[in-house]
Amino acid sequence: MEKDLVEYIVKSLVDKPDEVSVNVIEGEQSTILELKVASDDVGKVIGKQGRIANAIRVILSASATKGGKRVVLEILD
């Protein structure tokens, strides 16, 4: 389950894991995951030049190849 995967990764990166939440929006061809973290933790999830956010997206899309659906990760701030 993609929501579970994102939560697991993000919770292990941030300082305030309790404030991590993922909202799933199921579309026909794609699933959108809206990620919310504590405002101090946004930088940790995005990383320099978005490196960490990109790595999370790569892992997500690798995992999503089984389901056949595109998964989009949006980081809300």
Binding site: Q49, I52, A55, I59
Partner: protein, 235 residues
Amino acid sequence: MFREFEGKTEQEAIAAAVAELQIDSQDFDVEILDSGRKGLFKKGPVRIRVHLDDEQFEEVEEGLLSAMTVPASTDSAIVEDYEQEIVDFVTTLLVKMGFPGSVEISYRKEGKLGLEIISKHSSIIIGRKGKNLDAIQLIANVVAGKLHEEIKVVVDSENYRIRHEEQLVRLAYKTAEQVRLNGRSRLLEPMNPFERRLIHTALNEFEGVQTKSEGEGLYKQVRIIKDDELPPLRS
């Protein structure tokens, strides 16, 4: 006394026996228990039984005992808490990705912790050009950084990293040879700093060409240029 071994072929089973018992294949009798034929085309594992006389058996026992106790007393066998946490993190990550496998510590050197992923899903875990492996490695490094300051985690599967390095060096030589022959410079694909450094180092010793990086950001491109094509340096 006897011990049993298994392998895809009879030779493999014997090789396994030789490796574990540390004695020559001429020195023991082999009895084939299961030749592995499970039908016309199906082949199962071959099982053999190795017969030893008492004297040999004692030697083997001693050898096995010392082999088991020696690594436990060296540093490499003691898994630090933070190392176990990193291993557990990657293991759980793979499960959540839907590609379970086992994660083992393959080496520790110069502040690096090498992890080897063993999984039947290794091709997707590695990904195109190692993309997925790099992403897992990056996240694992951030997690490791929170646990222990000076450790760099290298995540590998199926020896991808070493195979990839060899491939890059071969590409560097091949392209450099072409540049030297026809004099036209060549631009390689975008690469990360580690990969570019491999190319620069490989061609440092290569006569007749020079290398330089072009572009901006993390993924720059290496250009290979023939020596005399460089604009003359002004003094």
